[in-house]
Amino acid sequence: MIKLENASRTFQVGDELVHGLDDVTLEIKAGEYVSIMGPSGSGKSTLLNAIGLLDQLDKGHYFLDGKDTTKLSELELAKIRREKIGFVFQIFHLIPRLTAAENIALPLTLAGVEHDERNERVNDALKSLSLSDRAHHRPDQLSGGQRQRVAIARAVVTKPLVLLADEPTGNLDHASGVEVIDILEALNQQGITLLLVTHDAELGERAQRIIHMMDGKVLP
């Protein structure tokens, strides 16, 4: 499903070259639940951004769903992100002027899904995350846990293959954090491939497979 071959990504920071990813070879199967752990600066987010096609590799190849993504155009990459990948961020990234329902509908709106179908899918997503009574609230009227649930609903409303969560509990209290992880795990149970970046060991241990990273390398 996800296959990285000798993937490298370097950044220029001042005069120094920093290896975000250093010759990483990795394979993740469909439906897996993987947590990526490591200290800050170890390349966790770089790996996630590369898998999410927000970032391009300098060297190596990345196959998603059997397709080499390194040679695709900007337009094709956007299409893959739209159809196959869902993102959940630490700081939610909800658009403050839009209601919860409108935020969830955003990827469908961008993809040009018809109005009726969009409403139906947004309502389903709201219901499954028990947000129905919050549909017309704006983000500033929601609690942190609710905001992250809205963000998760937005990520899965397009029915992606992969869900990429970058420190989804980082801005939440413990109880809300556990609740969010429960939701993500439930989604994984339904078949979605879940990649979770965290530096919270307790949460990370819950995954079937744990990838430890250090200085851009995957530790064996």
């Binding site: 999410g52 927000l54 956007a78 040009g112």
Partner: protein, 401 residues
């Protein structure tokens, strides 16, 4: 993405930043409104002058005493005065084959009274032919009688305003009014006529030219209005006038002959140029509004960096982000332009109320140009911020950098 979704997105973004939206709309509206108002002013001046001249009638030549020198240089030291035009000159002009009608005009001011009512008005001395030369219409009674030009007779025709002032609603026909030291019988009242070349016939008293000359104790004629037989013989008629008067004035070219067309086209050119330059000045304010849109959209793109990163993560390609931002600036400039149209045309209406004689009318091209330039600058100056937004690196944008 559906068009109405794009527009909705733009409107929500505009509503999300209301203060900046209102300010930008105001800037755009002022730009468009000033184009409309300033070009209306220029166009109004043009229409006003055109009306003034065209109410003189066609194929008209105006003969003035004195030669307007255009050669420059010192004025003659001898203090020579041009020979006056006289009624005999006028009669001589009638003999030209190319001239259809001739009307002398003698003017002066004198008090006109009827019983206790008195009014100082302009007295116009002329002949029956003025009626057709100036294309006048009678409200009641008849115009000055056809008679020998040099014969005075105690009759007069009143302008509409003068009639109302002296007689109110009563009919003045057959009444005797006192004009200066003379008395004359009212035989007709003119219908309301426009002001032409500063001659407001509605507040004037018309009498035979010879009577007016007696009244003011002069022998001269202020102007001679000449109607050529047709448009084609205008030049011949003009030459005839010059030849006849030269022969009568001992070989001196001491008159000026103006044609309505020449005057009209000169004024038309000047005032059209004025309109364009006023429009150009106003267009600068539209340009400023456009640059303001660019400025504000750049700030908006900077403020919404994280949002742009999110849109990219959600699978919006570059061109979609450009579309979203351009739609926003297009909506801003379009609504601004519409507001400007309303302000501008409304302003025209208000000005028209205060200055009813002056036609405030924005030329059609100015409306299209104002709205067109508004949209064009909105899109042009929206393009840079939109491209800027679309080229952001999604990873950096998401982290707010």
């Amino acid at each position: 993405m559906y068009l109405n979704d794009v527009i909705q997105f733009a409107f929500k973004a505009m509503y999300g930043a209301r203060t900046r939206t209102y300010l930008m709309l105001l800037a755009m509206a002022i730009g468009v409104a000033s184009v409309i108002l300033l070009t209306s002013l220029g166009e109004g001046a043009r229409l006003y002058v055109t009306q003034q001249f065209s109410s003189l009638g066609t194929n008209l030549l105006i003969v003035l005493p004195g030669r307007s020198e255009t050669t420059g240089g010192m004025p003659p030291m001898t203090g020579e005065t041009p020979r006056d035009l006289t009624l005999q000159d006028v009669m001589a002009l009638q003999r030209s084959y190319h001239i259809k009608e001739v009307a002398p005009i003698v003017v002066g001011a004198a008090p006109v009274s009827y019983r206790q009512m008195e009014r100082e008005v302009m007295i116009t001395g002329t002949t029956a032919s003025l009626f057709s030369v100036r294309e006048l219409h009678m409200a009641s009674g008849q115009f000055l009688p056809e008679q020998e030009m040099t014969r005075a007779s105690p009759v007069c025709v009143l302008g509409r305003t003068l009639q109302t002032e002296l007689f109110g609603n009563a009919s003045p026909l057959g009444k005797w009014v006192r004009v200066g030291g003379y008395r004359c019988r009212v035989i007709g009242v003119l219908e309301e006529e426009g002001v032409a070349l500063g001659m407001d016939l509605s507040d004037s008293l018309l009498m035979p030219a010879a009577s007016a000359q007696t009244l003011f104790n002069i022998n001269s004629v202020f102007r001679i209005l000449v109607v050529a037989r047709s448009q084609e013989v205008m030049d011949k008629a003009r030459q005839d006038i010059i030849d006849i008067i030269r022969a009568r004035h001992e070989g001196e070219d001491d008159i000026t002959v103006l044609s309505q067309d020449a005057l009209l086209s000169t004024f038309d050119r000047i005032l059209t140029a004025l309109t364009y330059s006023l429009g150009g000045i106003a267009a600068v304010s539209l340009l400023v509004a456009g640059i303001m849109i660019m400025n504000v959209m750049l700030v908006a793109a900077a403020q919404r960096t994280a949002e742009i990163g999110l849109l990219k993560a959600l699978g919006a390609p570059r061109r979609q982000i450009i579309l979203l931002f351009l739609t926003e600036s297009a909506c801003l400039s379009m609504i601004g332009a519409l507001l400007g149209l309303i302000f501008g045309l409304g302003g025209n209406q208000v000005l028209q109320l205060y200055f009813p004689d002056f036609p405030f009318q924005a030329p059609d091209w100015a409306l299209w140009a104002a709205v067109g330039i508004a949209l064009f600058t909105g899109l042009l100056f929206g393009l840079l911020p939109a491209r800027h937004a679309a080229n952001l690196n999604p990873v950096l944008a998401l982290s707010g950098r």
